[in-house]
Each structure stands twice: as structure tokens, then as C-alpha cells.
Amino acid sequence: MTSPTTPAGKRVLSVRDLTVTFQSERGPVEAVRGVDLDLYAGRTLALVGESGSGKSATATSIIGLLPPGARARGEVLLDGQELLGLDDRRMSAVRGRRVGMVFQDPLSALTPIFAVGRQVADAVRVHSKVSKQAAWRRAVELLDLVGIPRPQLRARDFPHQFSGGMRQRVVIALAIANDPDLIIADEPTTALDVTVQAQILEVLEVAKAETGAAVLLITHDLGVVAGHADEVAVMYAGRVVERAEVGELFATPAMPYTLGLLGSVPSPEATRRLPLVPIEGEPPAPSQRPAGCPFAPRCPLVRDDCRDKEPALTEIRQRHDVACVRAADVLGRRPEDVFARAEEPAVAPAPAAGPVLRVNGLGRTFPVTKGAVLRRRVGTLQAVSGVSFSIRAGETFCLVGESGSGKTTTLLEILRLRPPESGTVEVLGVDVAGLLPAPERRRLRQAVQIVMQDPQGALDPRLPVFELLAEPLRAAGYAAEATRDRVVEVLDLVGLPRDSLDRFPAAFSGGQRQRLTIARALATKPRLLVLDEPVSALDVSVQASVLNLLARLKSQLGLAYLVVAHDLAVVRHIADRIAVMYLGHIVETGGAEELFAQPRHPYTRALLSAVPIPDPERERSRERIVLRGEQRSAANLPAGCVFADRCQLRPTLATDLQELCGTRRPLLEQSGGTTVACHAV
């Protein structure tokens, strides 16, 4: 599947000098500035960029769905037909017929009050005069094509009866209903779990093969790009800054920004944990772009002339364009040669105390109720069952699993510091279920703090930074003087300037805000920091510096981390030990090195294989396990192994062993380097 050097298919779409202007409170803002793109039949162009780069605006202006008030200029030629400036009626003849689109959030993309079959059939009938019955038959065919099981039956179901992954399949069916020449996929897998992401990307490949269409894939995930794109265009601040064949781009990037992006992404395959190579600063807001090259303020190779004039996109090699005056100096260099790698934190002598946190047999259920007035309990949702682990000071323990695996419930049960429904939670060797004197309980409270996924939601927008940082200290009984000192101390610790104290959270960028929440969590000198998806809300280029900060703090302060993350590359980068959860159970646990090198449990293996690797060669050559189906509901756990229904290993086993998988739940047992709950290993 290596990309050919010359485009094979015919040119479907050509975009020239596309400029998109939005009206904002501060006057018109150019979200897209002079973008050129070419798409060829049967080939995928990936448009890569961070938030604010203009990649979505580019896509929506091609399909003519810009919000009111936005204006697109330039040229968008679909097979020679100019699309810009077409009125809604003429454009609607193009949409769905010649251009299909797949959106980011499948949960809200389908009309809730129509059956999915009807929606697909309607999409067919918009452009072709066929009978209702014929359209319905075609809809069922399409649903079958995108991998909806029992399409005949499921076509009559409504969107809320489908999972996110299944709904995204329906959206893809809508997009290809009329055999389009171009499919635009705008972050199609961002809202989905990795194993589901792998399935959806495969369905997109099927759709491409079936229709022979050109695909415009918009994503921020370099791993997805490596696996599925033929060509890549990198966008920054509304412009394409580099464009090349996928192999060429990953092997020899010529723009410092591209190089920086590649350096700041942790690789799920890295063996030694070096600090990441971060890009300093954050992308500029569309209304505050600097003159000259917009990347200049963050670029380590910046020259004076960079700040004067924005460089044009020019060809430096065959089919490799870049907009950088220093491209020749970048070519062939590695990220760490150009960007300063953060100092490797000195390994702190680990305090030889007992575990900071010990969880034993933790369980949590939720009642499933029905009816509005008289709620009756119709079942029990077993969110977490029999989870045990312990964390030492200076150690990072990661809980890994997909949504619904119970990892967040586990965190919340620990943070509550109340007697759990079943099992025990010990913090600093003290059982939280016991009768504790108030000061002792407060000590435990201070010892465990949390950093949440979304820094915007975690900070009360109405309080200035000083108040935000002082709040946990006051709750812990610090005096006014001591509070002030400590606030300044933690601000220094996370590298925020002291004049931040009077400002409100809204005045900070995403990365700075996450530093604030970290500072806040550190205020009471905790021993254990619970990190719930600490970087998933941040832009790729910002993630690296936050991850480096966390690594530095851990060794500096001898902290223990309990991390929940869905991005296995991030997990690989920070974890010492890992527990893989499925349906509320730990199915495998062990050291990070061992687990990544030799996963034993079939689910762990499938999970790891689903993680895209940001390296086209490796990504395309490795063998991959794509799981069938989806995680079942925790409301009806099977008697046997929780993973048995999706297990790729089970069909290959002997009949009696298969029987065992279906009837008895396996226990965690030492096997090789890790501890695994599986009958077959």
C-alpha cells in the first residue's frame, strides 16, 4: 500500500487560493488564507492541523455548508465546475450526489426522530427518482456495506438505539448513498474509542474502494494520517505550510512546524522514555496572527526576514511543497536537532514507604431504572468489579480501557474517600472505610488530588487565579500568610508567571489553563495525583510540554500518579505500570515495558494493534487485529469471560476451552511478564 510517485486517478477537485472570512466581534477574521489543494480519484488527502488552523473551514466551504456570515473566495472546481458562489438550490444538487461528507460527532449527526433506514433511503431519493421500496432496499444494502449487522432489521431502529461507532457507520452510508466522486471526512474518529476507530477507518477504506472517490481526510492524529493518507497537507494559522506524499512527509519534513509536530507526538512503539520535544508556545488566535510567518514566534530556526514576509508555498523537491525560508536547513534533520529537548528529569530517590494507594476488590454498581413517575429497578449495572492495584510513591500507574470499561468510575470511587460499595481503599496505609478523626480525614483528603480532562470546566470562570489556587489551601486550614506563600510557590512550580494571580481563567490559553489545574492540585502537597485524561483536551503541539511538566514534577516531588488515558501512545510515554480494563474488570496488568512488548490477553493485543503509529512504513506493514462488534452493556455481564463474545482467540481454541470461556470467568494469574485473566494463556 505504499503510495505511488505519480497520482494514478484523474483529478476530481481542485481548490485554488481559497480564503474564508468569518465575521467576529472584532471584525472580519480570515480562518483560511489562500489554500490550494488537489484531490485525485481513489486517493486520500489528509489535511492535518491543530484547532484554529482552518482545516474544518476549508472542508465546509468546499461542500458549501459554511455558517451564515462566513464568506469563501477563490476557486473550488469539482470536475471543472465552479462550486463557490452556487446558490443553495444548485449546490444541493452537488451535495450528497457528487460530494459526500462524514462529520465528527456521530451522536448528534443523525436526526433523532427518523429510523436510520429511512434517513439513508431519503438520502438516496434526494438525487434519484426511485420508488420508496427501491430506496429502502438500497438503504439496507448500504447499511450492510458499512457493516451494520442484520441490516434488514436494524434499518427500522432509531439513532438512539445505536452506539457511537454504529452511528458513524450510518453517517458513512449517508455519505456514499449516491456514489459520490469526493468524500470529505471531518475528524471522523475523534469521538470514538481506538478499537472502534480502527473499524471506522476500515469502513472508510471500503467506501473509498466501492465508490472510487477521492477522500479528503481531516484529522489531528498523525497516526491516522500515517495509516490512511496518500498525500498530506499540513495547515497552520489558515494556510497550508507543507504538502507532500505521506512517506516523504514523515521521512523528511521540511517545515519546522511539521518537524515539531512529529517530535511532540509520543510513539506507542518507543522503547526508551526520553522527554518529548515540545514546540514552545501555542498556535495564534485567528484574530491575533503576527505579521510575517505565523509560526515565527514558536520557531527555533527563526530569522529576521521570517517576521517581515509570510513565505509562499514553493516546491523544494518533486511533489513536496513547503512554505518556509529555512526549508533547506530543516530537510533531513530530526526534531531533537532543531527543537530543544526538555531536560531529562533526575530520578528522585524513591521514598521507601509503603504504597500511597492500595485498592482491593473494589466494586461499584448502579441501578438501572425504568419509568418516569414510579421508578422501578429493572437491573443492575456492574460498572466496576473486583478491581485491585496499588501505587507506590514515584510511580505512574495507568488505567487503560475504552469508554464504558469502568476506569472513570474507579477513579471517582477512590477520590470520594468514603467506604466503597465493596472492597477496600487504603490511602497512605489508612483504610478510608474506618472511623477516622476529622484531622486524619483531612490529611488523607490533601494527600489525594485530581487533574481533570477539561481545564476550562475545572476552573470556576468567576474566580481569579489567586482565589482558585487558595481554595484548596483554605479548605486544608492554611493561614492567610501561608496561603499566599504557597500560591506563589505552586505558580512557580508549573512555570506560570506571577502576574497571573489577578487574571481570570478565560485570559489563559488551553495549555496554560491545564498548568493552572495542575498547580491547584499540587497546592496542598499531595502524595498521589489522579490524572483523568490530562492532555486529551489539548492540541498536539501543547500536549508535549504538559507531559514533560508532569514528568518533571513527579521526579521533583516524588509524587505517585494514577492516570486514566485513552491515548495509548501517551500511556506508553508516561506509565510505569498499566492495568487494562474491560467491562469493569482488569483483564491484564503489569509493567509498561512488558505489557507493550508482549501483551498476553487477547483484548490487550487487539487494543495495542488498533493504536495507529505515526510512521507510514510501520503502520502499513504491521499486522493488525480489528475486533468485531462492540463492548456489551455492563447491565448484563456474561457468566464467563467478559471478553468472550468479541475474543479473536476463542474461535481458534479447543471446544472444551471455548466452553470454559463461556461459563467461568477467568481470574488474574501471573503469566510471563504480566498478570492476565484469560483461560487460554
Binding site: R95, F103, I113, A115, V171
Partner: protein, 327 residues
Amino acid sequence: MVRYVARKAIGWLAMIIVATNATFFLASWFLDPRSNYRELRPVRTEDQIAHALAPYGLSPRWSVVHRWWYWLSGVVLHFDWGHSPTGVPVNSEIPRRALVSGQLILLGVVASVVIGVALGVYTASRQYSLADRATQTLSVVLFNVPTVVSALGLVLAAVWLNQRVGTTVLHVAGANTAGVDGTWATILDRANHLILPTVNLTLLGYVGWHLTQRSLLLDALGADFVRTARATGLTRTQAIRRHALRASLIPTATSVAFTIPAVFTGAIITETVFGWEGMGRYFTETIAKNDVDGVVAVAAFGAVATAVGAILSDVATVVLDPRVRVS
């Protein structure tokens, strides 16, 4: 669907029973039927008064529970809703009045919902246009006009119109003209009398529907699924009509029931101003005359009206939202 609506209807029936019985106790507590006799000359003794009230089950010598039981068994066994303190049977008043008020409330609600929702849909698809701003201003002002003022204002306007034209174009008093014969003449006459009160109820009622439907549809217009529908090749107008509109009507349909009490209150005042002998007038009269049984009948009527509205809105919800049928 039938099962769903039936289940809801049973719930509302229970609500009617509870509300009606609760009103009986409240009315018994706050109204004193004896006062109708106290002002009579010659002065009656308490014994005489009690004696006079006894045949109607209103004797002050009975306990409240006893009176309630008398009233309840009358209602349940003979559908006899009792008597006024002066012996006028409630049943002789109700059918005529209920019909009069029923048509007024029904017309008022239907017209309000239809006009309000239509305006909301029209203005939402033209957000910030002149028509949108103008109707919104008008609605906000109308929303703040008390029923009394709007009713009297309509009367003034109609009287002025009648004087200008020289004949009675619009009737401003009563539900019908005495002495009108013939089917068509009667219908026309009644319809004419209905115009102003209905307009009044509609003026007050439509505003809420206009403003909520407007914001509901605006929310739906920004929804992702409308964008998806457009991406399949529908024009903006088609996508609004086929996807956004129907989704945005569901919350409107479900809230119809909760507006009936307010419409009923509006009807009380409207009937008073326009001199209609309906349930609304009956309401003020019975309270003024300490007529416990009459008040309870009015409350029952109000509850039935609410329940009918609620069931209609349940049916509308089921029709609009197929998910209800599925789950």
C-alpha cells in the same frame, strides 16, 4: 400508541379525582353557605338556616366528611353535582355553561398554538430580519398587557368600529343574540359573538408559543443533524422543513397541557368582560355566593379541560416522535 395514551389518560383521571375532591374540602373550609341566609330579612336563626341547607347536603351540623360523602355519593351514583345554597341544582347550570366555555377555551388554545407556532417558525427562519424584530417587539408588549386591559381595549375598539359603520359588525356582549332563529342565522350569530373573546384569548396565548417555538427552532437549525441532512443534498429550506421543524415541535406539543390552567384563568376574565354565561362567570358567581358545590364543579371542569389538553398533547407527541412508540 393506544396503550401509551391510555396509560397517560388513567394518570390524568386520577389527577382530576384528586383535584376535585381537594377543592371540595378547600371550598368547604373557605366558603360559608350560611351567609346567603344571614342577610335575609326577617333574620333567621341558626337552626332555621341549618334546616334550610340540609336538603342540599350543606347542613353546617354535618361534619365536613359527612358533607363530602353526601356530595361524592351524589356525583358517583347519580352524576348529581349538588345544589347551590339556595337550592339551584348545579346540573342545571353546567351543560350549557361548559359548552360555552369549552368552545371558547378550545378555540383560544388552538388559535394561540397555531398562530404562535406559525409565527415562531416564520421568524426563526428569518432571524434578525425586520419581520422578526417587529413581531418580537409586538409579542413582548402584548405579553405584558393584562387580560383585563386587552379585553376592554377590544371592546372599545369594537364599539368604535360599530359606531363608525353604523351597524353592529362585532358583538361585544353575550354568547348569542336573543330571538335569532334558523340554523344558519344561529350559527352565524354565535360565531360572531365568539370572535372578540377568542381574539382576546389568542392575543394573550400566542405570545408564549411564538417566543418558545422561535428559540426551539433556532436551536434545531444549528443542530448537527440538520447539517447532515443538507450534506445529503437537501436545500436549507427542505432540511428545515423535513428535519428541524418536526424535531422542534416535540417539546411544544408536550407543553400544551401546562398552559390550560392559564388559559382557563384568561377565560374567566374574558367571560366577565364580554358578559358570557360560561364556566368563568359561574366561577366568580359561585365564589361570591358561597356556593361550595358550584365551585367544585368549576374546579372539575378546569381539571377536565387540563386533562383533555394533556391527552391531546400526548397524542401529538406520539405522532411527532416515533421514539415514544418504540420504547
